[in-house]
């Protein structure tokens, strides 16, 4: 490289062009920055303002009070809300050096494990200035203690968080259900219906079915927070007030419910009382049950686990979620079929020697030495198996049996307004081919004629079947919700009208005849010895279901009463006592107590002291319902 060209002297002037070039670069940068800033601050001001607001605002939910639940009397609620408190901790306000100490002391005082505490307050929350819930469902005393010892609990705060109080415990649990915190999975499904993280929602029963009515609408409070989530200033930016949840009135009659619960006692089974003319459910008992309040106690998870693992399944609502062989109660349906289709004269007699030969199989009657000759009415009254074997296998045929079962709603959901109902099983030749890949044989028809075999019905389906006879062909959809009412004024917002579920094309005279046949079961049939009440004339049918256990059977009793009253005044009663209990033939006996109680307006204890029965010693102490724990 040469140094030729410019030979610089001390006073060689600097290149003006280069200075100007530098000046141009400077001016260009100033210009570009100004334009960019103008764009940022003036043109897009609103965009950045909304972003800035978005960054600094947090919305805090104001939970709406959940509606209360009443029984049909609409006097005192069966589910209410009681004042309760939740303890929160603001991790950022706990001094660093005392953190472990404070957490341990709080966990000890509130009775939660340190693991649980760590799960709720992981170390990553250390600098957080937002309250984190430690525990809810706490009493005023607990909070008072905390308030008095505040210096030991820096950063600890509390707030009111009402909890559900299930006044009528145990027997109503299956109807009412319970509530709990929303899970991640539930939130994914329900997000668009206004649920949010932290929502409390119904997990089963009425609480789940009518959650949207009960829950109201959570409000929102907007606050401005700084970068660590700390609330800035006292003034609220904005508020959306919550909408209270609506109160609901059930069709359940608290007194009948209690009577049924006690009449069933500590026996695994279920009792249903309905009004056939509307479909209203007056009582629904399923034993064993559970106490929904347990889910608010110290060891919620523990209580839940214990109940889930209980071998008698306390969470199962046996009235709608469990299917049983209908046994002899099914004979009502065959009786209707015989009368309607006139396949044989009701006066035609069949001789019962105590057994029935079909092909190379022998089917026994429950009376081993035989009933002798009997016709339709005495066949139902005595519940003679041989009569119905003969009718089913030789006169009706399987297709007609299935057809009539369908008309009575077997194998289909009743649509009752609590979640989890099952449809039961209505077998047919096609069903057997599909399910077992086996041909329907005559023996299957014989078996089904007395309600045994593959047949499975839910107690609510049997209640509907009896309702159909009472209403002479119409069944109303069973329901538990009666009214929706305003939580503050009590104003009636909506009344649930009866809804026809099924209308069978059967002559009313057929139902009339079937109903009088059921009346004879009580007056001079199998139930004569147990239905001793003089308070009401009833019609009904017993059933004894074979489940393959030695000396143990499902005990059924279905009834309607008063027998001679118009349908509007009648009730339908279904009692099922599972074979798992000691054999007492308890279903008709419980029915006797319940019918007596309802129609003489007595409670269980009064029934015990006035109803003279051979199976209930008068002086015996009232049997206490054992709690399933």
């Amino acid at each position: 490289m040469s140094t030729s060209g410019l030979t610089g002297s001390r006073d060689t002037p600097l290149s003006k062009i280069r200075i100007y070039a530098f000046g141009v670069v400077v001016a260009a940068v100033f210009f570009v920055y100004s334009v960019h800033l103008f764009n940022l601050q003036v043109v897009n001001e609103e965009l950045y303002q909304s972003r800035a607001t978005q960054v600094t605002q947090r919305s805090i939910p104001i939970y709406a009070q959940r509606g209360e639940i009443f029984d049909r009397s609409y006097d005192t609620p069966v589910v209410s809300n009681i004042d309760s408190f939740a303890v929160d901790i603001i991790p950022g306000e706990v001094p660093e050096e005392r953190r472990t100490d404070v957490y341990r002391r709080l966990a000890g005082y509130l009775g939660i494990s340190e693991e649980e505490m760590r799960r709720r307050l992981p170390p990553s929350y250390a600098g957080l200035y937002q309250p984190v819930e430690v525990k809810s469902g706490l009493s005023l005393e607990t909070i008072t203690y905390l308030a008095e010892h505040l210096e030991d609990f820096p950063g600890v705060t509390w707030r009111s968080k009402p909890i559900r109080n299930y006044v009528e415990k145990e027997s109503l649990a299956h109807v009412l259900g319970y509530v709990g915190d929303i899970t991640k999975e539930e939130l994914q499904i329900l997000y668009n219906q206004g649920y949010s993280n932290g929502s409390v929602l119904g997990k089963s029963g009425i609480e789940k079915q009518y959650d949207l009515i009960l829950r109201g609408q959570d409000g929102k409070e907007f606050r401005t927070v700084d970068v660590r989530g700390r609330k800035v200033g006292e003034a609220l930016v904005d508020e959306v007030p919550p909408v209270l949840g609506k109160n609901i009135v059930l069709t359940i009659d608290r007194n009948i419910q209690k009577l049924c619960e006690k009449a069933l006692g500590s026996r695994i089974g279920t009792v249903l009382v309905t009004k056939p003319s509307t479909g209203e459910v007056l009582a629904l008992v399923s034993y064993p049950s559970f106490d929904p309040n347990l889910f608010y106690t110290a060891d919620t998870a523990d209580a839940f686990r214990r109940l889930s693992l209980n071998t008698s399944f306390p969470f199962l609502n046996r009235a709608i979620q469990s299917q049983y062989v209908p046994a002899s109660t099914y004979k009502i349906i065959l009786t209707t079929a015989i009368l309607e289709d006139e396949v044989v004269s009701p006066s035609k007699t069949v001789f019962c020697p105590g057994y029935y030969n079909y092909g190379d199989r022998v089917f026994r009657c429950h009376k081993h030495n035989g009933h002798g000759s009997l016709a339709l009415f005495s066949g139902l009254a005595e519940s003679c198996d041989v009569y119905y074997y003969t009718m089913g296998a030789e006169y009706l045929g399987i297709d007609r049996i299935v057809d009539f079962s369908r008309r009575f709603g077997l194998g289909e959901l009743t649509g009752i307004d609590i979640p989890g109902e099952i449809p039961g099983t209505l077998p047919s030749p096609a069903w057997k081919t599909k399910t077992y890949n086996a041909r329907w044989v005559g023996g299957d028809t014989v078996n089904m004629s007395i309600g045994q075999g593959y047949l499975g019905v839910t107690p609510i389906q049997m209640a509907n079947a009896v309702s159909m006879i009472v209403n002479k062909g119409t069944v109303y959809k069973p329901h538990i919700l009666k009214e929706i009412r305003d939580p503050q004024t009590g104003e009636l917002l909506e009344r649930i009208e009866p809804e026809i579920l099924a209308a069978a094309a059967v002559r009313p005279s057929t139902f009339e005849a079937a109903g009088s046949a059921m009346r004879q079961v009580i007056t001079n049939g199998t139930a004569r010895v147990v239905i001793t009440t003089k308070a009401v004339n009833s019609a009904g049918k017993t059933g004894t279901g074979e489940v393959g256990m030695e000396d143990h059977w499902h005990s059924w009793f279905v009834a309607n009463a008063p027998y001679d009253a118009p349908p509007e005044e009648q009730i339908v009663l279904v009692v099922l006592v599972e074979a798992a209990n000691d054999w007492e033939w308890w279903a008709p006996k419980a029915a006797n107590i319940i019918l007596h109680g309802i129609f003489s307006k007595m409670n269980y204890e009064e029934v015990r002291s006035t109803l003279s029965t051979w199976y209930l010693p008068l002086q015996a102490l009232p049997q206490e319902v054992q709690e399933v724990r």
Partner: protein
């Protein structure tokens, strides 16, 4: 002649400086106020003390004959080099870099003063060895004056401050009359180096780019082969130039050497740069790649500035700043809080004041009869301009995040003093522009 100096005072330059410093104190005060209205910081008081003493220094340097200073320039330069070395051993760590030295609470950041010392020393050399400036050997040698403190600051590590030395020295060379092709070589090599350094990371975060082509940069062996190959081309064209003296060999050599420096430099940079520094360059393109981490500063700063609007939210009424969404509001992000509270109007005021200072500086460069003064003034103007462009550019999202202060406004004694001294020097050059 010295007697006239008082009357020849550059009043515009002085007033602009004072206004900027006052604004700085006001917004440092604002940044020390929490969301609940408490004043939690005493930074504004410290800054006031530094401002008053700093203006004293300004007046002192303005009235001081810079020719004396010029004679002492090498010694001053060496003292600060020594201080920088000392800082590496005895310094205190502030904001992750060992940049502070002193006893008890009294101390300085030598890197800030070193910029000024380097400018004076470089101006002295560029003026004295004027005739050799166009010679490649001296061109390279003079660069050492800037490179030595820059390397010492890089070790601290304070990438932002170190970077300032590059544009300052390049512009000084440029104005002093270095060969265009030499300047172009340095600028192009630097730009290419940055490009090659971040190229593979952009491929990684933004997709696109050919993966196997990227492995030329990410795979160590392949990178070394590539650098070796370029070096071979370089050596061959150098030999060609030596034997044939053909012009095209010269340009071949020129560009292959350029490529070699860029590749080797980027290779070195990738192994030296920390993950967070790379991420700053990545989020510069799209802050939402890492909104809670590296992109946080950009997003929050732009939210604050944009929400300020035309007239701002009012002094002490900013929300994003007082709720602490903006980090380092009194130092690196002082411009964000000003923009939020005073809006576009306030920003324009600051722009105008900076523009006046720089234009006055350019005027001094243009009119000074002394080459030394003109070149030194060039260094000072470039330094102030570079700080302004990088700091404001970063706050408004036009530049990647590099932690260098906004002169006059940002909190910090050393940077305030060094810039006030620089302004003092500018004034001294101005007063003595018609010197004999």
């Amino acid at each position: 002649m010295k007697g006239q100096s008082v009357f020849a005072f550059d009043i515009l330059l002085f007033v602009s400086t004072l206004i900027l410093v006052t604004l700085g104190i006001a917004f440092i005060y604002s940044s020390g106020i929490t969301s609940s209205g408490e004043v939690i910081s005493t930074e504004h008081i410290k800054q006031t003390i530094w401002a008053i003493t700093g203006v004293g220094l300004l007046v002192f340097f303005a009235s001081f004959d810079y020719m004396t200073l010029r004679r002492w320039s090498l010694r001053v330069y060496l003292v600060f080099i020594c201080l920088l070395v000392l800082t590496l051993f005895l310094g205190r760590v502030v904001n992750y870099s060992k940049s502070w030295i002193g006893i008890w609470e009294l101390g300085i950041q030598p890197s800030e003063f070193c910029k000024v010392a380097m400018i004076v020393q470089l101006a002295h050399v560029l003026d004295k060895k004027n005739t050799q400036l166009r010679d490649l050997k001296f061109f390279a040698l003079f660069f050492g004056i800037a490179a030595l403190p820059m390397l010492l600051i890089l070790i601290q590590p304070d990438l932002g401050t170190a970077l300032v030395f590059i544009p300052v020295s390049i512009v000084m060379f440029f104005i002093a009359g270095a060969k265009t092709r030499h300047i172009a070589f340095v600028v192009l090599a630097g730009l290419l180096m940055i490009f090659f350094t971040i190229l593979p990371y952009y491929g990684m975060y933004f997709g696109g780019g050919n993966a196997s082509a990227m492995s030329l940069f990410t795979d160590k062996t392949l990178s070394l082969y590539l650098i070796g190959a370029v070096f071979m081309v370089c050596a061959l064209s150098c030999a060609g130039l030596f034997f044939s003296k053909k012009n095209y060999f010269y340009w071949f050599f020129y560009f292959s050497l350029l490529l070699f420096f860029a590749l080797a430099g980027s290779f070195a940079a990738r192994s030296v740069l920390k993950e967070y520094q790379i991420m700053r360059l990545v989020v510069f393109i799209d802050p939402n790649i890492d909104p809670k981490g590296a992109g946080w500063n950009i997003i929050q700063s732009m939210n604050a500035i944009g929400s300020g609007g035309l007239w701002g939210k009012g002094f002490l009424k900013g929300t994003q700043s007082h709720y602490r969404y903006i980090p380092q509001q009194s130092t690196d992000f002082i411009f964000s809080i000003l923009s939020e509270e005073w809006g576009f109007a306030g920003c324009l005021l600051v722009f105008v004041l900076f523009f006046i200072i720089i234009v006055r500086g350019l005027f001094i460069i243009r009119t000074s009869q002394d080459r030394f003064a003109a070149i030194a003034a060039t260094g000072i103007v470039t330094m102030i301009f570079f700080h302004f462009a990088v700091n404001v550019g970063m706050a408004i999202g036009l530049m990647p995040i590099t932690g260098i202060p906004l002169f006059f406004l940002s909190y910090g004694g050393s940077s305030l003093w060094s810039v006030l001294i620089s302004i003092g020097l500018l004034m001294s050059f101005y007063i003595r522009r018609f010197k004999v």
